[in-house]
């Protein structure tokens, strides 16, 4: 049994008096793709943000390659290079070109002029012609692909995706999902919070259905989608798969 890339045990998180994660246990193996599904407010995004330490957890462990990064006072900076995250709202730096958005972190953090590597990434995801453009000159789908490239340029071993297609016009969703398919083929370890049920069913190794701050049900996509066990899972799937 290989050591999981990412292992969460008893993760709890509150915002003020409201506990939004009630003790999450989850292990993600190297090369595995896990999709978190569930209604808005069920805790998917918060869970992702706990996985890279963007939100400090209140209790429990988050082990990345065996190291507990949830330890209070743990220096997260070196960890950030191993685990990339892409957000729903792109969060590109609006005052920099697409290329500079991507090149900033490799230059400052890795002290590396990664031009050839970065150009290859732009090429691979069909954006070679847009490297010199500013974010507001790009479509939502293009911006989101730049955001993925920006995260990949740090050579992470694990990628987190927080509803990265939810802010896109429907006709732009596919170009971003294609990027994920391509990463899947590379064997990237990925955790996605997503509302794209068809995509999750097609590509995920495992689906976790989150409800009110717990993982209510988890299993292989076919099982979850065809024979959900819990009433809450059935209701949710019925409402999104209409």
């Amino acid at each position: 049994m290989p050591e999981p890339r990412l292992a969460l045990r008893g993760v709890k998180k509150s915002f003020g008096d409201v506990e939004v994660l009630h003790g999450i246990d989850l292990a993600v193996n190297p090369g595995e793709m896990v999709c978190l599904i569930g209604a808005s407010g069920s805790g998917k995004s918060t869970l992702l943000r706990c996985m890279n330490g963007l939100e400090p957890v209140d209790d429990g462990e988050v082990r990345l390659d065996g190291v507990d990064i949830a330890e209070p006072g743990f220096d997260l900076a070196p960890i950030r290079q191993k685990i990339g995250i892409v957000f729903q709202s792109f969060n590109l730096f609006p005052h920099m070109t697409a290329y500079d958005n991507v090149a900033l972190a490799p230059r400052r953090v890795l002290a590396e002029d990664a031009r050839t590597r970065i150009e290859a990434l732009f090429e691979r995801f069909g954006l070679a012609a847009h490297m010199g453009k500013y974010p507001d000159q790009l479509s939502g789908g293009q911006q989101q692909r730049v955001a993925v490239i920006r995260a990949l340029a740090m050579r992470p071993q694990t990628m987190l995706f927080d509803e990265i297609t939810s802010a896109l016009d429907p006709e732009l969703v596919d170009e971003v999902l294609d990027v994920l398919r391509s990463l899947r083929d590379d064997g990237m370890t990925m955790v996605l919070a997503t509302h794209e049920m068809g995509f999750a069913r097609e590509l995920a190794d495992r689906i976790c259905f989150m409800d009110k701050g717990v993982i209510a049900e988890e299993g292989a996509p076919d099982l979850i989608f065809s024979t959900p066990q819990r009433e809450r899972t059935k209701q949710f799937l019925a409402s999104v798969l209409r």
Binding site: L54, F87, F93, P94, H95, A105, R108, V109
Partner: protein, 270 residues
């Protein structure tokens, strides 16, 4: 082909222009007719609007204005640098830097709280009074210092508001890429913040440009003092009017430009 809507709007516009033109004409005529009827008008005209004195003093006032421009020009980079330093000091989060934060807060409170003219007096007369050797007793230096102290406090606050207006998600994105706090500020937050407060700082520049005239109280023969000299010499206030005209020639375009930037900024964000 004009549509019904376009024809209607053209009619409305003509009507609005007619009304605006008419009321402006009435006001102007009243001013031109009524003001000279005031009992002291002849005296005021002679001592404030003397064309001959205006023409005679204008060139000298203009060259005195160069001193204003010079003082303005070397104040601006100092204000920018010090304002930025204070803004960053106020935002410092590390416990070790707590003294810096306190210093920044006190600095801003102090120098925003004192009228500029008072600070010009205190610094401009007080520090040369220490008996410093030339050129360190120059009122140019200490007057400039007074302006820099006051304006950097204002600029620091403007910059701080700009820094705080940058959305948390930008910081998060930078931090998640592994950028240090310092690099996040330098490459991600500050460039956006500075751009965002350009219009507000333009207004600062306009105000500074006028406040340079306050240095006249402590010695430098800039435009206001030159006008005062002419006033005493010629027993006439027209040089003050001439000085005002010169100021307006600079400040009106600058203010309009600041308004333009402000509007463009507002439109861009909606």
């Amino acid at each position: 082909m004009t549509t019904r809507r376009a024809a209607y709007e053209a009619r409305q516009r003509r009507r609005a222009n007619l009304l605006a033109g008419g009321s402006t004409a009435v006001v102007l005529i009243l001013l031109i007719v009524l003001v000279p009827l005031a009992p002291g008008w002849e005296g005021v005209q002679a001592s404030f609007f003397n064309a001959e004195i205006f023409a005679r003093t204008f060139p000298d006032l203009l060259s005195a204005f160069l001193i204003n421009i010079a003082i303005f020009a070397w104040s601006v980079p100092l204000i920018a640098a010090l304002g930025l330093a204070i803004a960053l000091a106020r935002g410092a989060r590390a416990p070790v830097l707590f003294p810096l934060r306190i210093f920044g807060a006190i600095y801003v409170d102090l120098f925003r709280g004192i009228p500029v003219v008072l600070l010009v007096y205190l610094v401009g007369f007080g520090i040369p009074g220490l008996g410093l050797p030339r050129p360190w007793n120059s009122p140019y230096i200490w007057g400039t210092v007074a302006l820099v102290l006051t304006y950097s406090a204002y600029v620091a606050e403007v910059l701080r508001s700009g820094i705080e207006s940058i959305h948390e998600s930008q910081r998060n994105a930078a931090v998640c890429l592994g950028l240090s706090e310092r690099d996040t500020m330098r490459y991600v937050v500050l460039p956006q913040a500075i751009r965002r407060v350009v219009p507000a700082n333009m207004n600062m520049l306009v105000a500074l440009q006028k406040d340079v005239a306050l240095l006249s109280f402590i010695g430098p023969v800039e435009i206001l003092r030159q006008a005062g000299i002419f006033k005493s010499l010629l027993a006439n206030f027209t040089p003050y009017v001439a000085a005002a005209v010169i100021f307006l020639c600079v400040t009106v375009p600058a203010t309009r430009y600041a308004d333009y930037l402000m509007n463009r900024d507002r439109n861009a964000r909606t």
